[in-house]
């Protein structure tokens, strides 16, 4: 039983000792001494950035809907304003006709 425990401890200890070495060996460029100096990795300060022309398609903001929205808003606002002028003019015209009729009927009396 003690021998069994001893064997287990040796296996676990061996795994713990060798695991970092195995992981390090799997890292690209780790096996060759001086590999880091020869790689084309960007400087540390640029690691977090991706040039705009290398962005994946889904991350690029499409311009067409923005252009269409801008032109749509311009035309929408002008048309709504035109409609409001027309509506207000019609209301004033109606009121003028009504008041003129009342003045006329008051003059007859």
């Amino acid at each position: 039983m003690t021998l069994m425990n001893l064997a287990r401890a040796v296996v676990v200890g061996a795994l713990l000792l060798t695991a970092p070495a195995v992981l390090w060996a799997r890292t690209p460029g780790a096996r060759t001494p001086g590999a880091q100096t020869q790689s084309t990795k960007p400087p540390a300060a640029q690691e977090g950035f991706v040039p705009v022309d290398q962005l994946p398609g889904q991350e690029e903001l499409p311009a067409a809907p923005l252009v269409a929205a801008a032109y749509g808003v311009a035309w929408g606002a002008v048309l709504i304003y035109l409609y409001s002028i027309r509506k207000r003019l019609a209301a004033v015209e109606r009121e003028m006709t009504d008041v003129a009729r009342r003045i006329e009927s008051a003059g007859r009396r």
Partner: protein, 218 residues
């Protein structure tokens, strides 16, 4: 002006009808691409907004110092147009900025001063609507301050560091882009004159209606 109205209307329709062809044919700007096409509506509407603000300020000053009711009508009409064109500028600008700058809005000098100027003309209209008797004089004074903001808004990009392009862009514009830009500017200025004429006519009819009501009371 009423005689010129149909001629100007036809001219304006022609200008706006041909504008899309010129805008599509204009070359893409090298860094911004398609989204730069907003420029052909954004800047002309800003010019129309400045024109409306100046018209409102000058008409209001004439009303205040020379007591001409006609000038007050022009001032009111121009204030509404300053708000209308300002709204287009303040919406089309962020749509362009979202793609070009990566943000919808920046509290920089140009954008903030434009918003403040737009709010001044909104204040003018609110004062006219809810100010009661005598609000014409008070709102005319507000309009003069609103018009005085125009040079500040225009020069803000040169005086302070902003993300917005400076006033150097238009004089150095490539000839292939200048043509469509001037075309659209002419179209929007024509539209400004048309809308101003229609809106002044509405105010003139309202003044006539008030006279009719007075005649009815007599």
């Amino acid at each position: 002006m009423k005689r010129l109205f149909p001629v100007l209307l036809i001219l304006c329709i022609g200008l706006f009808a041909y504008a899309p062809f010129l805008i599509v044919a204009a070359p893409y700007e090298s860094t911004m691409g398609l989204v730069q096409k907003i420029f052909y509506f954004h800047v002309p509407t800003a010019i129309a907004m400045f024109t409306a603000a100046f018209t409102c300020g000058i008409a209001s000053a004439i009303f205040l110092f020379a007591r001409r009711p006609g000038a007050d009508r022009v001032g009111l009409a121009a204030a509404e147009l300053a708000v209308l064109f300002g709204l287009i500028v303040l919406i089309s600008g962020p749509l362009w900025a979202r793609k070009a700058w990566g943000v919808w809005w920046q509290w920089d000098a140009r954008l903030t001063s434009t918003l403040v100027m737009w709010l001044v003309f909104q204040a003018y209209l609110l004062l006219r609507r809810f100010g009661g008797p005598g609000s014409e004089k008070l709102s005319a004074a507000v309009a003069i301050f609103g018009a005085a903001l125009v040079p500040f808004v225009y020069w803000s990009v040169n005086m302070w560091r902003t993300v917005h392009p400076t006033t150097n862009v238009l004089p150095t514009l490539d000839a292939s882009m200048r043509g469509p830009f001037l075309w659209c500017t002419a179209a929007f200025l024509g539209l400004f004159v048309l809308l101003l004429t229609a809106r002044v006519e509405l105010e003139s009819r309202r003044a006539r209606l008030d006279e009719l009501y007075l005649a009815l009371e007599d």
